[in-house]
Amino acid sequence: MQMRSSLGKVRGLGSTKSGVVHWWAQRITAVALVPLSIWFVIAAIGLVGADYGTFQDWISLHGNLVLLIAFTAVLFHHAQLGLQVVIEDYIHGEALKVASIVAVKFVAAMCTISIIFAALRVAFAG
């Protein structure tokens, strides 16, 4: 049954634009980040004060490379979803709100690409 009014649909109003998708993605990424972030902290402790060669040896291990890429992708997706909610709660001007959300998504995507590319470059150079 369609509960939304025609006017509401045309204006793109209402809470069900894609609310459930966002909520669910936030939970799934949260669940994935429980083991991934614990793995990352343990790995990061092992890399305290490491020189480039040590870091290269570490990231050249297949498991480390895969987990780091997974951690990075999930982390920035989760962060971006969370910051979107914060922006929606506190910024009320529509233009600034949309611009801020888009900016956060762009930065998150660029950071993800940067880390993955650096990780692959170092691992494959070793």
């Binding site: 669940v31 902290v41 020189d51 962060a79 914060v86 950071c111 590319f117």
Partner: protein, 135 residues
């Protein structure tokens, strides 16, 4: 013709600063604040790992920046944010599954989150320092 009238003065609910802070409300806003903190931490993570893509010199500069007293202080903050957000995030997932809404349970799990985050932060730094010879 009806003219726009001044809105009737209605009683306002008490402002936020009038409420006595409670473990539930304090942890709720702390979850959000640590989440924002961790988003900033993710930028540091990007700097650290991307530096490796530029070669040994850039990576070792980044390692030195993170090992400085300021770098360690920032990492200490991020570490606490991570453990708090992780522990309280698990608490949130339990709520999503419908568990833990009774007030005594809420208070217990709330304090548990604070204690776990504090202990885990101390242990992490203790292990980190012991592996570096304690300087």
């Amino acid at each position: 013709m009806a003219t726009a009238k001044e809105p009737r003065k209605r009683p306002l609910s008490p402002h936020l600063q009038i409420y006595r802070p409670q473990i539930t409300s304090v942890l709720s806003i702390t979850h959000r604040l640590t989440g924002i903190g961790l988003a900033v931490g993710a930028l540091f993570l990007t700097y650290w790992l991307s530096s490796a893509g530029y070669g040994p010199e850039a990576f070792e500069t980044a390692q030195a920046v993170l090992a400085s007293w300021f770098g360690r202080l920032v990492l200490l903050g991020f570490t606490f944010c991570l453990y708090f957000h992780l522990a309280n995030g698990i608490r949130h997932l339990a709520w999503d599954a419908g568990w833990g809404f009774e007030l005594p349970t809420l208070r217990l799990t709330g304090w548990l989150v604070v204690i776990v985050a504090a202990i885990a932060t101390v242990v992490t730094f203790a292990v980190g320092y012991s592996m570096r010879g304690g300087y």
